[in-house]
Symmetry: C2
Subunit: 120 residues, 2 copies
């Protein structure tokens, strides 16, 4: 398995990260995701990390970067399903992920994206 599937739900793209992300998978994901945002005109991206039991600074930066890429393509990113231990680790690592919004689960993330679109 060399790529992470990107699921489309309306104008939101859902990415579920389940595997350990090494460099090549991560770059492939960023490439696929930006292409899909552009191709489908997606307005939101949900990244589910509920399967991740721990993160390192590489993954933290990856998520922050992916979020920034989506933003310049006019899509908002919400990270969902973060475990408490992961939140602790991210802050301890100094990867605060500025500008990345979070929600407890996919449903709340979808609601957040819908609400922020109404504000626009």
């Amino acid at each position: 398995m060399d790529r992470i599937p990107i699921l489309r739900m309306g104008d939101v793209l859902l990415v579920t990260i389940q595997v350990d992300l090494h460099d090549q998978v991560a770059m492939q994901l960023q490439n696929d995701l930006t292409c899909e945002i552009q191709r489908l005109g997606a307005k939101g991206v949900l990244i589910d990390i509920s399967a991740l039991e721990m993160v390192d600074s590489f993954i933290g930066r990856l998520i922050a970067d992916t979020s920034s890429m989506s933003r310049v393509l006019d899509a908002q990113t919400v990270v969902v399903g973060m475990r408490p231990a992961v939140a602790i680790t991210l802050v301890e690592l100094g990867v605060a992920m500025p500008g990345v919004r979070t929600a407890l689960n996919v449903e709340k993330g979808m609601a957040l994206l819908a609400a922020s679109r109404l504000e626009d």
Copy 2:
């Protein structure tokens, strides 16, 4: 990573299979999924296999069994994102997955679940 995350969207549960399923992960998934259906009163299950480039009879049977388990818990299962090569292999293996409904992607699968609920 020893378990596959189950995402809740309304009364539908979404499972994205990305990793090679060996026995223990598969049993864990069936256990988690049946527990979640019961806990949340879910009415539908979407199993996304777009990341699977090939399947064997084990995975075919697993999907068919999972679908049957959901059915007796009053939840319908739709398998989405099957690649053409996977469809060919499944039939050649003689794993026809009776009673499992399929849709091209998550969106169409959600629509199928919504439509079948209206019929009830």
